[in-house]
């Protein structure tokens, strides 16, 4: 058996087992009936010209349908209940960005530390991965956590988990991505929180700029400051102070919560969603900013509180 190394794993396994037993019972029922009929009513024992004329039994069919309907709705509801947990990361999650490449994984921490094919996380603390891909679609899959999420180029997807077992847990790429697909392996190294704190600190010393600092430099280098302040004052464009997580009102009257995907879109296709009260003059940074620079700018905007 696979270890249950995340808080969600036992929940997923319970539903798996529930469906497994239901299925086994149904299957044995069908096969037992089939085998019994085959033996009992085999032609050697049962005159082919004396079979009774039975054309159906609607009450039986209806009760099978209704019974089954209830059962599958139970399975659905149970699946949905756990799935909602899977897609709702807690507020205090430790955020780490993940970039999938053909054919390796890159993990970047808030302090600027980068790891390849190894993700170090503390045990017992929710971790939220903010993931994208540099080339084709990949899928981050940790069997011991029972979790997986695709990484799609051009957008961010997220996956959160809380590890419950220290040690190394294998990571596979589950979405076919070419030659090295089956070699696109990594591991999640789960350590005790104290050890993690130590590791984080020592890594900090030897690092240069963290993503938010890189983003701050880009903000002037790429001329964002021509149109945006970070002080709350609007210029040509709105101030970017404290916009992350805020409900932004758009020109078409809709409201949208500012998250990583919205920010990315604001840079790549600024005209797609316009902030209310501002002209559509922001240039696109598609091709001007690399994926990593986009991540850095977003980290900077997130840090403006």
């Amino acid at each position: 058996m696979l270890p249950q190394a995340s808080t969600i794993a036992p929940h997923i396994d319970s539903l798996y087992n529930f469906i497994f037993w239901i299925s086994l019972i149904s299957f044995v029922g069908v096969v037992a009936a089939m085998v019994y009929f085959i033996i009992r009513y085999h032609r050697s024992r049962w005159d082919p010209f004396k079979t009774p004329y039975i054309t159906g039994h609607s009450a039986m069919e209806t009760s099978v349908s209704v019974g089954l309907f209830i059962l599958v709705m139970v399975i659905f509801a149970w699946g949905w209940k756990d799935y909602k947990k899977i897609v709702s990361p807690p507020q205090n999650s430790l955020e780490i960005s993940v970039l999938g490449h053909q054919w390796f994984w890159e993990f970047e921490y808030a302090n600027g530390k980068k790891l390849t094919n190894e993700l170090v996380v503390p045990k017992g603390r929710p971790v939220k991965l903010i993931m994208s891909s540099a080339d084709v679609i990949h899928s981050f899959f940790v069997p011991n956590f029972r979790l997986k999420q695709d990484l799609v180029p051009g957008t961010y997807t997220t996956l959160w988990f809380q590890a419950t077992q220290t040690g190394e847990h294998p990571v596979f790429c589950a979405e076919y991505c070419g030659t090295g697909h089956s070699k696109m392996l990594a591991k999640v190294k789960v350590v005790e929180p104290t050890e993690y704190a130590r590791w984080e600190k020592e890594e900090k010393k030897e690092k240069g700029l963290n993503p938010a600092e890189v983003g701050k430099e880009l903000f002037t280098k790429k001329g964002c400051n021509v149109c945006h302040t970070v002080t709350g004052q609007a210029l040509i464009g709105p101030s970017l102070l404290g916009i992350f997580g805020k409900n932004e009102e758009l020109a078409d009257g809709k409201k949208i919560q500012v998250d990583e995907n919205y920010l990315r879109e604001s840079l790549m296709q600024p005209q797609a969603k316009l902030v209310k009260g501002f002209p559509p003059v922001m240039p696109t940074f598609q091709g001007t900013l690399t994926d990593e620079e986009v991540n850095a700018v977003i980290a900077y905007i997130k840090s403006l509180k």
């Binding site: 032609r43 009774p52 054309t55």
Partner: protein, 533 residues
């Protein structure tokens, strides 16, 4: 059914007369059906060889072929099996042959369109096969973007092949719908139609409505590759997930294009070999339509972890669960038909019963994948591979083999050798389970699909699975040999070797070119077996 004095002893069978030229230009639905059968079985053999190569690579951990070669193998296996074998074979081969006969007609509504659809199909298939000589394709049969935009292989040839073959599928579907509506013999009401025809009818509706979408999708993909338009490429502001929506909007209904005809065959074979009226005729007939309808609303269940919104997942999961109901009704009704029947375990029946056995496993494992949280862990693993092989091969292919053995005497006037039929069945059935049952376990342990190589934790079951594939291979090899052998040497078949009640069994084996000399009049349903109350 009433028999209106067919006197066809002096007429020539449809197989006689004319050289190869008269076959290639024939408008006879039976000859076209046979030509479809020959072509699709050939493609099946090719797809099967690729399957064996895939399993050979996976026999042991460590490379045998290079990853790129392996990736082409599984792509060809999937694309050939889906687009050139399993989608066309039952409707276009067996449906073409038997649909007009079973409604008491002399041909399909548009015989020329029928022949055209054959050549369009062959043309599309050749286009796709051309890719083998131009570097192959390595995208998987799903052609997911942006991989398929960047892949240096012959994506265009194969997707254009799929595009062209789609037209053939639409033509066949259209032809069948019109034929069923317009050419039924007097007295052949919808509710007196054999269930095989209900299944073909439901299939034809999906073919006509869904296939245009794959056509457009492949076309957009080709434009994207050639002109760099930017529908799907994020580098150009496109959305790669949009492709998945388009693709599955066709390819999920297509799953039912594949399975419904197999279900239809099982309904025929079960009744004939238990000499019982089908249990719940209307429930089976209408559940085919229900499945066809729901099939259009569940495509998103292939994309639960693609990043689509949680609410989309909510809807797709709940709708997917509903598919279980018409499916289970069918399984229930087939099993109930056996009750107090007089069961004759000839090869067609063995395959029909295998269908129930294997398809039940395929259906039940679908529940795991429809449940959102469990799917997050199982998606894109070998669990899925096992699941759809139990449905497609354990379902459709078993249904096909039931039908092929059942109708072989009618189509070619010769019996297949029963004893070899049973031996080969044993290899196929056991081999199938040895191959695919372990894959559920592999998937549960976390082995992703489309893997060229794997770690030691997956070694044992992969080896078992590969050995199973050889058993299947042996079974099919036997079958190919005895079918071909029987064409010339098989025992001559009587007009009704199984005591069937549907119209085809009233014709000589093989039928004459015009099927019926006089239009038959139908006065009762197709399954009037047993002691009438």
């Amino acid at each position: 059914m009433e028999h209106h004095g067919e006197s066809q002893g002096h007429h020539k069978s449809y197989l006689e007369g004319g050289g190869i030229g008269s076959w290639l230009t024939t408008l006879d639905h039976k000859r076209i059906g046979v030509m479809y059968l020959a072509a699709t079985m050939l493609f099946f053999a090719v797809g099967g060889i690729f399957a064996l190569l895939v399993r050979l690579e996976l026999l042991k951990s460590g490379p045998l072929f290079s990853p790129d070669v392996y990736n082409k193998f599984f792509t060809f296996h999937g694309a050939i099996m889906v687009f050139m074998f399993i989608i066309p074979i039952i409707p276009a081969a067996l449906g073409n042959f038997f649909l007009p006969i079973m409604i008491g007609a002399k041909d399909v509504a548009f015989p020329r369109l029928n022949l055209a659809s054959y050549y369009v199909f062959i043309g599309g298939a050749l286009l796709a096969f051309l890719a083998i000589f131009f570097g192959g394709v390595d995208t998987g049969w799903t052609f997911y973007t942006p991989y398929s935009i960047r892949s240096a292989t012959s994506v265009i040839l194969v997707t254009m092949g799929v595009f062209v073959m789609g037209f053939s599928s639409i033509m066949t579907g259209l032809n069948f719908i019109v034929t069923i509506h317009k050419l039924r013999a007097p007295g052949m009401t919808f509710h007196r139609m054999p269930l095989f025809l209900w299944a073909i009818y439901a299939t034809a509706i999906i073919q006509v409505l869904a296939t245009p979408v794959i056509g457009i999708t492949t076309l957009l993909l080709v434009m994207e590759r050639v002109l760099g338009i930017g529908f799907f490429d994020p580098k150009l502001g496109g959305d790669p997930i949009l492709f998945q929506h388009f693709f599955w909007f066709y390819s999920h209904p297509a799953v039912y294009i594949m399975i419904l005809p197999g279900m239809g065959i099982v309904s025929e074979v079960i009744t004939v070999f238990s000499r019982k009226h089908i249990f719940g005729y209307k429930a089976i007939a209408y559940s085919s339509l229900a499945i066809a309808f729901i099939s259009f609303l569940v495509w998103g269940h292939h994309m639960f972890v693609s990043g689509q919104s949680a609410w989309a997942n909510f809807l797709f999961s709940i709708l997917t669960m509903l598919v279980a109901i018409p499916t289970a009704i069918k399984i229930f009704n087939w099993t109930a038909t056996l009750y107090k029947g007089s069961i004759h375990l000839q090869t067609p029946m063995l395959y029909a019963l295998s269908f129930i056995f294997l398809f039940t496993i395929g259906g039940l494992t679908g529940l795991f994948l429809a449940a959102l949280s469990v799917d997050v862990s199982l998606h894109d693993t070998y669990f899925v591979v096992a699941h759809f092989h139990y449905v497609m091969m354990g379902g459709t292919v078993m249904g096909l083999l039931a039908g092929l053995h059942y109708w072989w005497p009618k189509m070619f006037g010769r019996m297949y050798p029963e004893i070899w039929g049973k031996i080969s069945w044993a290899f196929v059935f056991l081999g199938f389970n040895v191959t695919f049952l372990p894959q559920f376990w592999l998937g549960k342990m976390g082995m992703p699909r489309r893997y060229h190589d794997y770690g030691p934790e997956f070694a044992t079951w992969n080896m078992v699975s590969s050995v199973g594939s050889w058993l299947i291979g042996v079974g099919f090899l036997m079958m190919f040999i005895y079918f071909l052998w029987s064409l010339k040497r098989g025992e001559k078949a009587s007009s009704n070797p199984w005591n069937g009640k549907t119209l085809e069994w009233q014709l000589s084996s093989p039928p004459t070119t015009h099927n019926f000399d006089h239009v038959p009049t139908i006065t009762e349903g197709p399954y009037q077996y047993g002691v009438l109350r």
